[in-house]
Symmetry: C2
Subunit: 459 residues, 2 copies
């Protein structure tokens, strides 16, 4: 493999097809050399487009340092399935090259059989550490903390500490060492020692004399919003994570927390659009199609429920066919209005600006917007219908339906995420379909029901 052979490939797909050829000849070094030359962004895109089999071939041929890098660069959703397919021994070797917290992120999402077989291939100490970390949820401090930090006993002298730093210089080199954590014999966090103050201290002083006592900490079970508020209030880069007995368990870095929040927002958006499990287009067609279809199937049944209202009023509709033009408009506009309210509630919930119990406050706020916007939309559509068909009664029917249904839509849209949150359901996932179904049913009923009542004025 010479430089020349690379001759400036331009697209990701070209890289992929070259690499697939190279993988067939099983020249692992050439593959690694090729991948080493790629930008990190391109590398991620290339790795994500391999098939499961190609990826497995890559991981089984490459050395552990490269393999660990590829695992790290793969989009998260593919990392788990890649590791699942690897022999436990290969997986364990690659994982050990990653920080414990990253190992736990991956292992925690594997099947439990795979987890056990990987643990059995790991050095016991590492397996124990990962097992501990896997217990924590992805959205709490324990699931996000790193366990690479420097802790010293409170009776250590500055000389001891500096010696420790010197001895372990290499090990600490990719730690984020800015503070040294000071603990007592029970592992209880007693203080933090900024590296800075170590610089200025005499060799014989003890950690307990130099440390800043009663340091701020977060509980290992603290959730994203609470943690975000902590970092908003305190301009720290990291915070020690402790258990109920104040024993030091890890360090939560602000970057990792914010990344978890950003992932949560991205997943929430995907879920509102019916992508429940993250999908990449490089995944197998059957998986993509099946997952999307699962969501569509639920929606088609909800749609049928709503459409059954139209079916029930076919006779009215047959007599005033102009109504059929307005049904999709009222359905779609109510969906728009309601989804605006859903979006504002989701956002206020995630900023902590509204509590899940404040349903009444949110409802009042939404009703007032709904009154104004419903009035405007209703008058507009009513005038349009009146002049188009020359029938003010028709205008009244669709105008009032639009107005009332806008109020219904924002009421449901605004309060539903709060209610779902209280019921411990995922507001991102279910708010949309429930909203659409209910507002469609109400909208169709309002138009067709009132038209039936005054049918003689409309025909």
């Amino acid at each position: 493999m010479t430089e020349l052979e690379l001759d400036n490939p331009t697209t990701v797909d070209e890289h992929v097809s070259r690499l697939v050829e190279m993988l067939k000849t099983a020249d692992a070094e050439a593959v690694d050399a090729y991948l080493d030359k790629l930008d990190s962004t391109v590398l991620t895109a290339v790795l994500s487009r391999f098939t499961a089999e190609q990826r497995q071939a890559l991981f089984e041929q490459t050395d552990k340092v490269h393999g660990a890098r590829y695992l790290h660069e793969l989009p998260d959703v593919q990392t788990v399935s890649a590791v699942e397919k690897l022999p436990a021994q290969v997986a364990a070797t690659l994982l050990e090259e990653l920080p414990n917290s990253e190992q736990a992120d991956i292992v925690g999402h594997l099947s439990s059989a795979k987890q056990e077989s990987i643990y059995s291939e790991m050095p016991q100490e590492n397996a124990e550490a990962v097992r501990e970390l896997v217990k924590y949820a992805d959205d709490e401090a324990g699931g996000l903390m790193v366990v690479r930090y420097v802790a010293v006993h409170q009776d250590s002298s500055v000389r001891d500490i500096i010696e420790n730093l010197q001895t372990n210089a290499e090990k600490y080199s990719d730690f984020a060492v800015q503070y040294i954590y000071v603990v007592d014999s029970d592992g209880v966090l007693r203080g933090v020692l900024p590296l800075r103050s170590l610089v200025l201290a005499s060799a014989n002083s003890k950690a307990r004399q130099l440390m800043i006592g009663s340091p701020l900490t977060v509980d290992v079970h603290a959730k994203l919003l609470e943690l975000h508020e902590f970092f908003e209030e305190h301009r720290f880069v990291g915070v020690p994570v402790v258990d109920a007995e104040k024993r030091l368990l890890g360090v939560l870095r602000r970057g990792d927390l914010e990344e978890a929040i950003s992932n949560k927002y991205a997943q929430d958006y995907l879920k509102t659009q019916g992508i429940v499990n993250e999908e990449l287009r490089s995944m197998p067609l059957a998986v993509r199609s099946r997952r999307r279809l699962a969501w569509l199937s639920i929606n088609i049944f909800l749609n049928l429920t709503a459409a059954s209202v139209v079916a029930a009023y076919q006779e009215t509709l047959a007599q005033v066919i102009a109504l059929a033009v307005f049904l999709p408009i009222i359905s779609d506009m109510s969906g728009c209005s309601g989804n605006q309210a859903v979006a504002v509630s989701m956002r206020e919930l995630s900023l902590g600006l509204v509590g899940p119990k404040e349903v009444f406050r949110v409802w009042m706020k939404e009703v007032s917007v709904g009154l104004i916007n419903g009035f405007c939309l209703g008058v507009f559509i009513s005038l349009l219908a009146t002049f188009w068909q020359g029938n003010a009664w028709l205008g009244m029917v669709v105008g009032i339906a639009m107005m009332v249904n806008t109020i219904i839509a924002v009421s449901i849209g605004g309060t539903l995420p709060l209610i779902m949150k209280r019921l411990n359901l995922d507001p991102a996932l279910a708010s949309g379909p429930i909203l659409t179904t209910v507002t469609d049913m109400c909208g169709f009923f309002l138009v067709l029901g009132s038209a039936t009542l005054i049918l003689d004025k409309l025909v």
Copy 2:
């Protein structure tokens, strides 16, 4: 104001009404004492619910330290409007309590008249620094970097540096000092000096001898995705930001970058649902209603365009009224399918897994999903229509329309975000409405057009 008077208020609204009373008596200290007792989360919620006038009264009464804290705790979208309403002199005093980068975030979003009047009230040095920072966009390294870092000349000795740290201990205390940046006389970054190595060095060594040379940097104009990839590849807490001449301009911390990304995701989700400017329910009703209505107005016109297809085929519809039941179903299901494709494209774009030019690749990937899912949905709805009305021709009309329209919807949904990205339009904002309008028109046309062709089989 005694402790007793607080008697355990429970809801945010109760805090607000107490504080509003207190603000009337203009007892600033009592207000600050009350707010000091609140949790940071509750404080943010309380501040966000004041009216603009109440907030202004608070800022004008309080001292600058408290005022700066309230500014910092307010949701971003309210900070800007709060500062806009303050007298320039009060605003300048409060802003100066915040880090320069945070000042720039706020000032950069003010009206230009307000910006100038605030600059004129600031000490010149601070005004210059903020003016520089305001130039950078919110989504590039320059707009996210902090300018609080410790830089030393490459010829400084360890003794000088330690003296510098001692002298400025207080100033540096809320800096994230982990590295000291080493520059030459032109301000060009020459190396970084881990605090750790300072601990171990002799007093006479020079920075240039101890520093790690050729440090990794990011360009001041680097964008979010590129920056995210940088931190994915390198486990740093921060990276120096430089201009084209490699002069050190600031430090980008991973936490700040990830927070910006998470904000972008949150804003993108709000935009897809028609909340174009972030809305909090504590904003004035007129603003909330007007902004939402702007979006709804665009949508109602798009809806009318789509409904005009139904209007054009009223005669067909009048003869086969059962079709009216299926129109909203086909419209809604196509919207669902198309929005799934939009969501996957948005996600792949933001992860850098697909380039904006790969329209054809995405289209092919979507067509294959569309064929399968369109077939399944089409067969289902076709059987349903056939048995319900006892007419296989009707089943064929709605089935084929569902199938074809699903393929159209995923094709448009998948490619539209890429095309908009290439045209420098915001894919989050416009993809949804364009998709819905086109798929509605196509869906209505497919059902009613084909029904018209075989009308004699349907009646």
